[in-house]
């Protein structure tokens, strides 16, 4: 079974410029692996700068390069943090982050599994994200977080990508296995205009 939400481009062709990083499920704890998220995100961001060269220290090109680098570092890190938190580690399927470069956009695709008990909750959040005004939802979420001490996922990462980085986001949920236990994979696609 396959379900699609938001701006998920099913027919996106593979770019000639891409970089994929895969993470195999490991026995190390989430905490031990946490720094890999930032390292990988910074590496992807640095890689991208090659394709936005700056000649003669032109200040426009410099600030554009810095902006793109910053956006990739932030978005890739948020996507990796989410994927590591929500991945269904009972499956042995790897997590991957795939950066595709096009002439007018950068697309970041992250693939991870999700526990069957989390699927519905996540889809409900996505529906909310697609239906409501993301600016209002952002403020509402922060005001709500301020009244509680719990550390549940607030969706702020996705909201900042939409509000502050003008990113378009889409999701594909697919069932990869039903027996002996159900395994669902979620592919998150973030498109960033450049």
């Amino acid at each position: 079974m396959e379900q699609i939400f938001g701006d998920f481009d099913k027919h996106l062709y593979r770019s000639e410029e891409y970089l994929i990083i895969g993470f195999s499920p490991s026995s190390a704890s989430l905490k031990q692996c946490w720094r890999n998220n930032g390292l990988s995100a910074d590496f992807l961001a640095d890689y991208v700068t090659t394709f936005f060269p700056v000649e003669d220290n032109a200040s426009n090109a410099l600030s554009r390069q810095a902006e793109i680098k910053g956006a990739v570092a932030y978005i890739a890190n948020e996507l990796l943090e989410n994927a590591m938190k929500f991945n269904d580690n009972s499956t042995q399927l790897p997590i991957s982050i795939d950066l595709q470069l096009y002439h007018d956009k950068i697309v970041i695709i992250i693939t991870n599994t999700i526990s069957p008990t989390d699927v519905l909750k996540f889809q409900q959040f996505i529906q909310k994200l697609l239906l409501e005004d993301p600016q209002e939802l952002y403020i509402h979420q922060l005001e709500h977080n301020a009244t509680t001490d719990d550390s549940t996922q607030s969706g702020l990462g996705l909201l900042t990508m939409i509000n502050d980085y003008m990113a378009k986001i889409g999701w594909k949920f697919e069932t990869v296995q039903t027996e002996p236990t159900a395994v669902t994979r979620v592919i998150t696609m973030v498109q960033l205009g450049v």
Binding site: N37, A71, E81, L142, N145, D149, D150, G157, T160
Partner: protein, 125 residues
């Protein structure tokens, strides 16, 4: 008061009521951020006339960190509301940011939306 690791520093200068954040703050969720949250709460409890939050050297902040700073701003706002009710002078707040650090030029403005009286000072270099 200071929290210092290989990647970040959060320092509270008690004399001047300046909170300085430097480096990369990408901790995993609220539990890991709790020492920072405790420090920020202490600042609000002291009820100074002016709180300065200096982010100019904070290169990276993840969304959990944005959540922490936002909660802090809301706490200051609520504190001001209490002060106003009790006819006490209200605590003011100023945030120093850098426009050359991408996450700041994108996301810092949201802090002001949570507390419109918050002053935002941009460092352009």
């Amino acid at each position: 008061m200071e929290i210092k690791t290989d990647t970040y520093t959060v320092r509270y200068d008690e004399e001047n009521n300046v909170i300085l954040c430097e480096g990369t703050l990408r901790l995993s969720g609220m539990e890991e951020y709790s020492p920072v949250v405790e420090m920020l709460n202490t600042v609000v409890e002291r009820s100074p006339p002016l709180i300065t939050l200096d982010l100019r050297k904070l290169e990276f902040l993840n969304s959990s960190g944005i959540n922490v700073l936002s909660k802090f701003i809301i706490k200051v706002r609520q504190h001001r509301e209490r002060q106003a009710k009790e006819n006490q002078p209200e605590t003011n707040m100023v945030v120093y940011g850098s426009q050359t650090i991408p996450w700041q030029s994108k996301s810092i403005k949201n802090l002001q939306r949570l507390m419109p009286s918050l002053e935002l000072e941009w460092d352009k270099n």
